[in-house]
């Protein structure tokens, strides 16, 4: 309802907020506003001049002013604390309601679940159930073999739990839906495979920059390019060294059984929220499809809401999710903060499983499904009297070098077994180099394109290494 002309407030202008665009001049029907003639010393602009003798308070000039603190109704004048003073209104009138509320962490709860019989699950299902038990009720994804069954199970279950599975238009959209959901403070995940993971890297970099949690279950397949749908481990480099542009790192977990697909997916959510950082679960195509025994944990998680969430309520109104820091000083400080977080992760989150390593002269290093073939090989050569052991990194980043270091005392040969052209070996070598550790010769069993190292070839390589050891002795 328009007020009578006489009572409508007239405009006023604090000249330092005028950018002299002159859009108001045209808007005024009474020609009250004219172009100024003096450069404002503070802004270098020439503010408009107001002569309000004929003003009827129509306010069209105010609507034409693009600056929020440009032309304003006179009634707001006192709010600004005077004509030319930059006085904080909070000092005059107290803080606005939204700023009275300090967001706090609303912690999640662990809900006990009664004892259940073990399930028989394929890896992708085990991972999906791990996510459910970790409190994840939001999954965003795009179908890609061989990860799709995880998403399919979520599409079936989540609506029944009043959560959501959203099939995005692409992996690019999926990761950005995760960015939004994680920004709201909730646990979310995606199931993908190598080419899809490539597409998500941009979004992962943004999530790392904005410090958002999220779990990426990447069931690796054969590459490069479209490659094939058979198992490979050639995304180790991408996950450990290439999570998008900029200074990025994320914890990379490498399960080797369906049971670990569940356990490590749960852990991934915990770590993801602890560090406010994405976590990557790297499985190979075999592991995604493999069915095995899976025991359920004793509790499940009901997530809380972190203080930093942009939830869309009064408490969290002051929050911002963003990865842009436009000044060099601010962005350097942010990188220093991220570096401290990465150092914290490197110090505290290394995980590995050691099998018969206590006296091993030949250390076999392998992860995911090839670690199981390697375990079989270690067991077989032990029957022949060869002192071999399996070192299985569970975190690929950070590489569990602290657990590896003591083995170097008795290790005489290292054999790295992987379904990739040396990407795991590179992580080992980099970790050894950074820790300034000398090491015995490293040889490898590598298969590509969907072929996995077979137990017999691992055994043969271990026996070769044993022969070389003997030659050195001789």
């Amino acid at each position: 309802m328009a007020m009578p002309a006489s009572t409508r407030p007239k405009p006023f202008l604090e000249p330092e907020y005028c950018k002299a665009c002159l859009r108001c001049i045209d808007a005024c029907a009474k020609d009250c506003i004219t172009q100024g003639d003096h450069v404002h010393p503070g802004t270098g602009m020439i503010p408009v001049l107001l002569d309000l003798e004929n003003c009827n308070g129509c306010q069209l000039c105010i609507q034409a002013c693009p600056e929020p603190y440009g032309l304003r109704p006179e009634t707001e004048r006192e709010v600004s604390g005077g004509d030319f003073e930059l006085e904080d209104p909070a000092a005059l009138f107290g803080p606005k309601p939204g700023h009275l509320v300090e967001p706090v962490d609303h912690p999640g709860t662990e809900i006990p679940i009664s004892a259940r019989e073990p399930l028989m699950l394929k890896g992708t299902y085990a991972s999906a159930i791990g996510a459910l038990l970790a409190g994840c009720r939001h999954v965003f994804g795009y179908p890609i073999t061989p990860s799709t069954e995880g998403a399919e199970l979520m599409a079936k279950i989540l609506p029944k739990l009043d959560g959501a599975f959203v099939q995005a238009v692409s992996e690019v959209a999926a990761v950005n839906m995760m960015y939004g959901c994680a920004g709201a403070g909730l646990p979310c995940a995606t199931f993908t495979s190598s080419p899809g993971f490539s597409l998500m890297l941009e979004g992962i970099s943004y999530m790392i920059g904005a410090e958002l949690p999220g779990v990426f279950i990447n069931i690796m397949r054969g590459g490069p390019g479209l490659g094939n749908i058979a198992p490979e481990q050639a995304d180790i480099k991408l996950a450990c060294r290439g999570l998008g542009h900029g200074n990025t790192h994320g914890i990379v977990l490498a399960p080797s059984t369906p049971q670990e697909m569940l356990d490590l997916t749960r852990l991934a959510f915990e770590l993801s929220f602890r560090y406010r950082n994405p976590v990557v679960l790297l499985g190979d195509g075999y592991l995604g499809q493999m069915t095995g025994v899976v025991r359920l944990p004793k509790t499940m998680t009901q997530p809380g809401l972190p203080a930093w969430a942009v939830w869309g309520d009064l408490e969290h109104r002051r929050n911002l999710i963003s990865s842009i820091l436009i000044t060099e000083v601010d962005l350097e400080a942010h990188n220093i903060h991220l570096n401290a977080k990465y150092a914290d992760i490197e110090a505290n989150e290394q995980r590995a499983e050691l099998y018969r390593c206590e006296d091993a002269e030949i250390i076999v290093v392998a992860c995911n499904t090839p670690a199981r073939m390697a375990k079989g090989a270690v067991e077989a050569v032990r029957f022949k009297g060869v002192k071999a052991g399996l070192f299985r990194p569970i975190t690929l980043w950070p590489f569990p070098i602290e657990a590896f270091e003591p083995l170097l005392v008795h290790a005489k040969q290292i054999v790295v077994v992987e379904a990739s052209p040396g990407q795991l070996q590179d992580e080992l070598r980099l970790a050894l180099s950074k820790a300034e550790l000398g090491h015995p010769p490293i040889s490898s069993v590598q298969r590509y394109g969907g072929m996995l190292p077979e137990q017999v070839e691992i055994e043969a390589r271990i026996l070769d290494a044993a022969r070389m050891m003997e030659e050195v002795k001789a």
């Binding site: 950018k19 006990p112 459910l132 690019v172 920004g183 709201a184 941009e202 493999m290 095995g292 109104r317």
Partner: protein, 477 residues
């Protein structure tokens, strides 16, 4: 305006004049739309529900100004981010604020798919026919002949024609309200604000997705005064991008803003199929007589032969007996047909290597599978094959010593039950009989568990299993 911060703390840390002025150039349309949006949020009383998603472009810093929940998105991805927010908190009011490069170029896939999804969010699209932040390059909405830094001679046909987003969005089924507005004079500014208010009201009432395209001024990169730019928008842009309501459906509220996820453990466990009932054990111990603590099987056939199901039942039987087991399926990219085989391991304690390159037991449902895998069967192993379809063994490659060949007419026995698809269950019976891996009851109770929701199929499967057991038992060792 209580929705605009008193002080722009995020703009250069709020220092000096930047604490009260925007980062926009003089005369820029963004400031006008910001004002409208802020006033509408206040009018509708939704400040404590609103999340503004800032894009990449000149309005990347929209979060400097709006006292609401703020998220800054990657270039073009604001609608996807908005969906993430809306799904996380269905009660939030989510606004995706985007420019023409962001919305109509790099983010086109997100724009279209989100619009078609129809989830109640509000998209504010600022179309000024040029890239601002990167310095005046060709936008998808740049007019024909318009000179930009990447179309220095003017936009030509080979660069494509200007993209009319409001019309494009309006012809989708998802959106309920689409309007194009302008800011070039007082009358149109009032209309623009009304459109924004309507769009947000539609979201607040849970009616659906709304899209407002705003023809806006970029004096800096159009290289004109703000006044000239207003004229240019009216005279040059408006004929290409006609103003008006492009779509306005009356839709009843449908969005459930109150939806909250369930964390009822009973419900979760039921949905994942967890059971409290321990299966009865029938075996006296691990079938070490088959050769060691870890026994491997390969089941191979054509897609549709049922090798995968039989393999799962075999592994599940072992697990029900308290042992470890794994099953790895392997098939071609075809959904039906093609080759299909599965590797199963059963182990007393732990399956080390789940692959079965040299199985102890091979089940071959067709001749190619037999020819391919028979030579891989290890010494002293067993080969069960479908003697209905494999009659000629003369071309069989050399086998390891001590292998027992057992031909069972799987297909014929299944046809006897008038259901050829149960030949895999016949095969499971044959496996039981020939290998004595586990007692008959182990397999039968596994089959019953799997079919507990389809009891009508149980008699047929039990009969098929029994036929396999019976027939294989007749074959002399």
């Amino acid at each position: 305006m209580s929705v605009i911060y008193d002080h722009f703390e995020r703009h250069a840390h709020g220092e000096g004049l930047k604490g009260r002025t925007t980062h926009y150039c003089p005369g820029c349309g963004h400031g006008l739309v910001h004002r409208d949006l802020a006033e509408v949020i206040e009018t509708l009383g939704i400040q404590d529900r609103t999340i503004l998603v800032s894009p990449v472009g000149c309005s990347v810093f929209a979060y400097y100004y709006f006292d609401v929940g703020n998220t800054q998105a990657a270039h073009g991805r604001a609608p996807a981010v908005a969906i993430g927010h809306k799904r996380a908190n269905p009660n939030s009011i989510v606004i995706s604020y985007q420019g023409d490069g962001d919305l109509a170029s790099i983010g086109l896939a997100e724009t279209i798919s989100t619009a078609q999804m129809g989830i109640p969010i509000t998209v504010i699209f600022i179309n000024n026919a040029i890239y601002g932040m990167t310095g005046g390059q060709l936008a998808p909405t740049t007019l024909m002949g318009q000179k930009t830094t990447t179309s220095p001679e003017g936009r030509t046909q080979a660069m494509g024609m200007p993209l009319r987003m409001a019309e494009l969005i309006a012809q989708l089924d998802g959106p309920v309200y689409v309007e194009r507005v302008a800011l070039y004079d007082a009358k149109h500014r009032i209309k623009a604000k009304k459109a924004i208010e309507k769009a947000l009201r539609i979201q607040a009432e849970g009616r659906g997705y709304a899209f407002i395209e705003v023809l806006s001024e970029c004096p800096t990169h159009l290289k004109m005064s703000p006044e000239e730019t207003e004229k240019w928008v009216q005279e040059c842009m408006e004929p290409v991008f006609p103003l008006g309501v492009k779509k306005d459906l009356v839709v009843e509220p449908w969005w459930n803003a109150e939806q909250t996820p369930s964390f009822d453990p009973g419900k979760v466990l039921a949905l994942v199929g967890a059971s409290k009932d321990a299966p009865t054990r029938h075996a006296k111990g691990f079938p070490a007589h088959m050769g060691g603590q870890d026994i491997s099987f390969k089941l191979a056939g054509a897609g549709g032969d049922g090798a995968q199901t039989a393999a799962l039942l075999l592994a599940r039987a072992a697990i029900n007996e308290g042992f470890d087991a794994t099953n790895i399926p392997s098939y071609g990219p075809e959904s039906r047909g093609g080759t299909s085989y599965a590797d199963v391991h059963i182990a007393e304690t732990e399956v080390l290597n789940p692959g079965a390159p040299d199985p102890m037991v091979l089940v071959a449902f067709n001749a190619p599978s037999l020819m391919k895998f028979a030579p891989t069967v290890r010494k002293g192993g067993v080969i069960i094959y479908d003697s209905t379809v494999i009659e000629d063994l003369s071309k069989l490659p050399a086998l390891a010593p001590g292998i027992r060949m057992v031909g069972v007419p799987l297909t014929q026995l299944a046809l006897g039950l008038e259901r050829p698809m149960v030949k895999n269950i016949v095969a499971l019976g044959a496996i039981q009989s020939v290998t004595q891996a586990f007692p008959v009851e182990t397999f039968l109770s596994t089959i019953r568990t799997v079919l507990k929701d389809k009891p009508a199929l149980l008699p047929l499967n039990e009969a098929a299993f029994a036929a396999g057991v019976r027939h294989a038992a007749l074959i002399p060792a």
